[in-house]
Amino acid sequence: MTSKARVATVWLGGCSGCHMSFLDIDEKLFDLADRIELVYSPLADVKEFPEDVDVVLVEGALCNTENLELLLKARERSRVLVSFGDCAVTGNTSQLRNRLKIDDVLTQVYQAGPGSIPKGPEALEVLPVLLPKVYPLHAAVPVDFYLPGCPPDPDRILRTVTALLAGEKPELPAESITFG
């Protein structure tokens, strides 16, 4: 028996809609499950990103240091990294905050409303630090394949994953690489 491909999915600064769309490939998930081992994912309870991953799909933009740290680790430990969905590819709606001042954003979200979080070094204990700007993944690491869409429809995802598992470069038609 051939060993199953080690596949991971990562959820950074995004809405998880891309993961939802992944689940929408419905019954084909069963075929896929036979061929892959899901070694890390928000859908699986694994704490540490494992070594020796064949394919990782990364959803979401780089918003904070935690996202960045995890992405660097995922890149280092994976053979093929897919920029999964518009947030990962372009920054999408996550980067709408780029024209705002970080302090204003934090104050609005964590200070002006109910509840508050500490500021300064104490905040480091509870919150990852926001990056000065939100970035797409390829601003920090080399990306092997881009899968745009908000979310990418299930068919795009399946075709991409299928090709990658077969060791091929996914060839998507024009209508399957649109943004949004």
């Binding site: 240091t65 630090v129 690491v141």
Partner: protein, 568 residues
């Protein structure tokens, strides 16, 4: 005005000037005015008057003398004596000059600028030949130096074809930067079909540190107008536009006065020199856009539209102002015309190199002892310009690079100091002749920072019409800023280079396709400096403040900053 009257005017003026016991010439171009020439002039006039010397002493406000950083400059000219040039003249000092020369009859030894220094000796003045001697606002003054003899000559003795042939023979190339053969351009306009044709003088000089055209317009406005009129005769135009940027108020003012005086003397207007040739010149002021120095942008601006270039072909020679054939030349190009007609194309072609004839005016600026305006024969080496005319690098620093052609040009390193300056050599070094800006940098200049400065200029001045220039310059500036602040990675350098090539090849006009030149030329000659910024996060000369880190390093850097910030 007839040719005879012109001769009489010249003789009268020459006799009048020769009758003075002494002439005091106060440089009255912008650099000297900004260092106080007006007060010097007024003090001198008052002192002459006080001493009842008005009959014996002539005080003239002249065009540019050249060594601008030494202004205000006053020249004492006496029959039978060598000129004495005084530098850094104050209103008090000028009175001493007057007394020393006229009362004590003994020149001062202080503040004297020796006339035989290489700064003057190595120059060859064709366009600026009259500059330091004439009153730019006086028609008589210009005529006394042989002014308008060329125009009267072509009108009486030459056919338009012969004029074009003479210009072709001279080998003159466009002085605005492109270096297109002037005679060929004139021939194209002459042969172009069109009832109405136009002449345009491009005085929209905008390179940082360059002021050749400003000086030419301020110092000898009639010379440029004469060149335009000869061009008009040669191509069959009867209307000219002088496009001057509004930031040059003095140039515009002197040109306006010159046009008025020439019209009054019937040297411009109808039936010039009794011929059937009519030519009218109007001034158009530019509103401060670098891109309007690009010929098609300039033409749209003259027509009252948004100053944006349009794709060529069709070239202005066939379809320019309001669709009519239009000859557009730079101010300095027009400044060369009258001397060529007077002395012949062969004489002009005897100066310079094989493919670049004549002289070129440069504005020498930056880290060099003698900054100022110089006119040199083509083919002079950069070393002669820097170390002889320029007097070398001050403060014990070494030469690092010469930047020619402003934001469209490139940086030439010390290895090429012995290259003869001409259009083709500069182009092969990755720079351009440009309009004549020549900025010298010493070894304390950071070349990445220099590239960043020029890219910022181009981004700011891009008109925004085409995408490569509009967004490309902004993106290239982004990479250069990252390199300068320490947040760049090596991939950025590759992206920068790729983008620079793309912008160069795909932009709509000259502003766009030359904007990567400073970046590409510094990458070519000073790549190690770029790499030190990126790999070692270190600016080798200590100009750049490396306060940022690459994105990947923010994982540790951001918490560190917060902890340090709270300690502070």
């Amino acid at each position: 005005m007839t040719r005879e009257e012109l001769r009489t005017m010249a003789m009268k003026e020459q006799e009048q000037k020769a009758a003075f016991r002494c002439r005091l010439l106060v440089c009255y171009s912008s650099p000297c005015l900004s260092s106080g020439a007006e007060a010097v002039y007024k003090a001198l006039l008052a002192a002459v008057h006080e001493r009842n010397l008005d009959v014996e002493v002539d005080v003239t406000r002249t065009g540019c003398v050249g060594p601008c950083s030494r202004g205000p400059l006053v020249t004492v000219r006496r029959p039978g004596c060598e000129d004495v040039i005084y530098q850094h003249v104050t209103p008090e000092f000028v009175v001493r000059i007057l007394e020393a020369h006229l009362v004590e009859n003994r020149p001062l030894t202080e503040n004297v600028l020796p006339g035989d220094v290489p700064f003057f000796a190595k120059q060859l003045k064709v366009v600026l030949a009259n500059s330091a001697s004439i009153d730019p606002e006086s028609l008589e003054s210009y005529v006394s130096m042989g002014g308008f003899t060329a125009l009267s000559k072509v009108l009486e003795e030459m056919t338009p074809e012969q004029v074009v042939e003479e210009i072709k023979k001279s080998g003159l190339r466009g002085r605005g930067g492109g270096g297109f053969p002037t005679g060929l351009k004139w021939d194209l306009v002459r042969k172009a079909q069109g009832e109405k044709k136009y002449i345009v003088a491009n005085g929209d000089e905008g390179d940082p540190g360059a002021y050749m055209d400003r000086t030419t317009m301020e110092s000898d406005p009639f010379l440029v107008l004469e060149g335009m009129a000869i061009a008009a005769y040669a191509v069959g135009a009867d209307q000219g536009y002088f496009y001057v940027r509004a930031e040059y108020p003095l140039a515009a003012e002197r040109l306006a006065k010159a046009i008025k005086k020439a019209e009054k003397a019937e040297i411009l207007g109808n039936r010039i020199f009794g011929s059937s040739f009519n030519f009218r010149v109007d001034i158009r002021l530019g509103a401060g856009a670098f891109v309007c120095g690009e010929e098609t942008g300039l033409l749209t601006s003259i027509m009252g539209r948004r100053g944006q270039p349009y794709p060529r072909p069709p070239f202005p020679a066939n379809s320019g102002l309001w669709g009519s054939p239009t000859l557009i030349n730079n101010v300095e190009t027009f400044g060369n015309i009258a001397p060529i007609i007077n002395r012949g194309g062969d004489w002009y072609a005897s100066i310079g190199t094989e493919k670049s004839k004549g002289t070129k005016i440069f504005a020498l600026a930056g880290e060099i002892s003698n900054t100022g305006l110089i006119e040199v024969p083509m083919g002079i080496t950069l070393r002669e310009v820097v170390y002889e005319i320029g007097g070398g690098i001050p403060g014990g620093a070494g030469f690092k690079a010469a930047q020619t052609g402003g934001p469209s040009g490139g940086c030439i390193p010390a290895d090429y100091l012995d290259t003869p300056i001409d259009y083709d050599n500069l182009a092969s070094l990755g720079s351009i002749m440009g309009s004549g800006g020549l900025v010298i940098m010493n070894d304390r200049s950071c070349m990445v920072d220099v590239a960043r400065f020029f890219m910022d200029f181009c981004r700011d001045e891009s008109c925004g019409k085409c995408i490569p220039c509009r967004v490309g310059t902004s993106q290239m500036l982004g990479y250069l800023e990252k390199i300068c602040n320490g947040s760049a990675v090596m991939e950025d350098l590759e992206k920068l280079r790729e983008l620079a090539e793309m912008v160069q090849e795909t932009s709509l006009c000259g502003l766009g396709f030359t904007s990567p030149n400073p970046t590409l030329s510094t990458l070519r000659y000073f790549r190690a400096e770029y790499e030190a910024h990126i790999r070692e996060r270190r600016c080798p000369v200590g100009v750049c403040v490396m306060s940022e880190v690459p994105l990947r390093e923010l994982v540790a850097e951001l918490p560190r900053r917060i902890r340090e910030g709270s300690k502070a």
